[in-house]
């Protein structure tokens, strides 16, 4: 399988008058293949959304390169995207903000359908798209406010599908929905990947959810990928102390319930990144070596950015 979307050494920096230079994303390499779901997890403020925006071409990276189907992704401006790049679509967290409240659903879907098809063909396509996301054809004549949050997110997905994408970047697409609506939207996204061989970059702060759907999962902390592994592997034997902390913090339904374990401290400011390993101030295992920054390296079937990964594994840290 070939990589559909590749990020090569991507960095994102902002200048802020009060905070100075903010490094939101530092030197990230990632790739997503056709028919694959790559999960990207991390706490708020770790740079997930900044990464998503540059990956989709909504902003330019400060460094590095993004390629979609072999071609560089160019930042969108007030012009039409090259046809080759409409195959890369994005779904946002807020289904209220991503649809125009003053236009019918049908007319917004029509916008996305590639030119070339004639009138009746385009109308047929609208009905097909609505069917694809399990919405009735009559939804085309209604306005976004007439739908619930979950339905609206499905309409936003239909809008993204109108362009016949090969790759979707979904930034927290179900965070605003309740569990049942979450399951519907997630099942829909998964079916697109499986049946239409689409690539999906699924960004979420909810590791439990990513576990359900991602083939591989990347864990991001303060702008860097700290661990990347096949999802089952990552969840069963997390190697990075941060991944371990994230998993321990998930409240579980259990016959012998216990409170989830809190991670000490908070995510530091991107304008004030700790020297050495970025996770060092919050890490229970930090020692002298952690004063210099570890690179993402291949060990124990994972990519891990931790000097002590092997020792921590052999100490048999409980998860």
């Amino acid at each position: 399988m070939t990589d559909l979307l590749t990020l090569d050494g991507v960095s994102v920096e902002f200048r802020s008058s009060s905070r100075g230079l903010v490094r939101a994303v530092s030197d990230v390499d990632l790739s997503v293949r056709a028919g694959e779901v790559l999960g990207l997890v991390g706490e708020s403020g770790c740079g997930k959304s900044s990464l998503a925006r540059v990956a989709a071409g909504l902003a330019a990276p400060s460094g590095g390169q993004i390629r979609f189907a072999g071609e560089p992704v160019l930042p969108v401006r007030w012009r039409r995207r090259p046809d080759a790049q409409t195959g890369l679509q994005m779904i946002f967290q807020d289904p209220y903000g991503s649809l125009n409240p003053r236009r019918t659903v049908g007319s917004q879907l029509l916008d996305g359908i590639p030119s070339g098809a004639d009138g009746p063909e385009r109308q047929r396509r609208v009905v097909e798209l609505l069917e694809r996301v399990s919405m009735p054809a009559r939804a085309a004549d209604r306005y976004p406010h007439q739908f619930s949050g979950g339905q609206r997110q499905r309409l936003a997905i239909a809008r993204a599908l109108a362009a016949e994408p090969r790759m979707i970047i979904a930034d927290e697409p179900v965070t605003a929905l309740d569990a049942s609506a979450q399951a519907q939207v997630v099942s829909l996204l998964l079916s697109l990947v499986r049946e239409m061989d689409m690539g999906l970059l699924f960004i979420s702060h909810d590791l439990a959810l990513v576990h359900e759907i991602a083939d591989r999962t990347a864990v991001m902390y303060l702008g860097r990928i700290v661990e990347l592994a096949p999802t089952r592997r990552l969840m069963a034997t997390p190697r990075h102390p941060y991944t371990q902390a994230l998993i321990r913090a998930i409240p579980q339904v259990s016959a012998t319930p216990s409170l989830p374990v809190a991670l000490r401290g908070e995510v530091p400011d991107g304008a004030n990144i700790p020297t050495g390993c970025r996770f060092r101030p919050r890490c229970p295992h930090a020692d002298q070596r952690c004063l210099s920054e570890p690179a993402l390296r291949s060990t124990m079937d994972s990519l891990v950015a931790c000097w002590r990964a092997e020792e921590i594994a052999s100490e048999g840290i409980r998860v």
Partner: protein, 340 residues
């Protein structure tokens, strides 16, 4: 790091619960007449107990909380009984409710930034409360504010008093909102999805904090959530809400590990299992009932895979199953295959 209490000691049930809601019904004005949004609700919370309310959006969780504080919009009608600390709350006048709010029952909302005034310092917001509610002078109120911030684990509490809400992270702001809710020493804290907007790592700290307040100060908490993992980890008893009714209730562990209602089982199936087998998300078919358009029978019947003709005839009453469990289902199917 402070030790996190893991085993939750079961509080001794006191003869009279602190909060006893019986046969509560709430109607809100709608375009074509009143719409009943909460029906025949029974609910109790005892001192030193964390009780959970869970259910889908629109199931009446938050409306129940607002009813307990008399914060419903104008035109709402409430019938039944809300007894709190031996006093009937329904029928209280404005002043009576004012005495209950804050010093009897306090509330923490999902969005902490809207609960705190952005232009006032944390200190002003915390002490204002106490000077009116507890009649403290400025210095005493400030001391108590520092104590409260310590209690909710805000570092450098004295300095924090001079800061504004935006200078804190979301997790810290929610802690400050909890401190503010605790300012007048309430006996019952209602927490409406207080961790839904937070990261799991931050959520874990807030849950531990609430549990500490329960064990150390005997605080009673009514915790509203849609996350069954949170429900399991934090609460001792739980009520599962659907369409403004209790579908199932009882000791949380029992309800979640051996659900009796198909709705509870469906909610468990729709939740990501985290460390479970993976790829098993099962959406509940259909959409939640719109208030005022509930079918004549069981409100969950249209979405239930175990529905029988009997379910369409009448609303099943909530019946005691023994062991503190109660169930509103006529079929009561064997759910071991679904949840196992």
């Amino acid at each position: 790091m402070t030790g996190v209490p893991t085993a939750l000691p079961q509080p001794k049930p006191s003869p009279d619960p602190l909060l006893q809601v019986s046969n509560l019904a709430v109607s809100l004005p709608g375009p074509s007449g009143p719409v009943e949004v909460i029906r025949r609700m029974d609910l109790t919370v005892s001192t030193g107990e964390i009780v959970g309310i869970a259910g889908e959006s629109g199931s009446g969780k938050s409306l129940t909380a607002l009813t307990l504080l008399n914060l419903l919009p104008p035109g709402a009608t409430v019938t039944g009984s809300i007894r709190f600390a031996g006093q009937e709350l329904l029928g209280l006048d404005r002043l009576g409710w004012q005495r209950v709010r804050g010093s009897g029952i306090a509330m923490v909302f999902q969005d902490s930034s809207s609960a705190l005034h952005p232009m006032l310092t944390v200190g002003t917001q915390l002490t204002e409360h106490m000077r009116t509610g507890l009649g403290l002078d400025a210095a005493a109120a400030r001391d108590r504010a520092v104590e409260l911030l310590d209690q909710v684990r805000i570092p450098q509490a004295r300095r924090a008093l001079k800061a504004y809400p935006h200078q804190f992270s979301g997790g810290m702001r929610q802690r400050i909102a909890i401190a503010s809710a605790l300012a007048c020493r309430p006996q019952l804290l209602i927490a409406d999805e207080p961790t839904t907007a937070l990261d799991v790592t931050v959520q874990a700290g807030i849950l531990s904090l609430l549990d500490e307040l329960r064990t150390e100060y005997g605080l009673a908490v009514l915790f509203i959530t849609h996350d069954l993992g949170v429900l399991s980890a934090l609460t001792q008893r739980a009520y599962l809400f659907y369409a403004g009714r209790v579908m199932e209730s009882g000791a949380t562990t029992g309800v979640l590990t051996a659900p009796a209602h198909p709705y509870t089982a469906a909610l468990l199936g729709a939740r990501p299992h985290g460390l479970g087998s993976g790829r098993t998300l099962r959406a509940i078919p259909g959409a939640p009932v719109v208030p005022g358009q509930a079918p004549p029978g069981c409100p969950f019947e249209p979405r239930c895979s175990f529905a029988q003709p009997v379910c369409r005839q009448a609303v099943p009453p909530l019946r005691a199953l023994g062991d503190g469990r109660a169930l509103a289902c006529e079929v009561a199917p064997d759910l071991t295959e679904v949840t196992g």
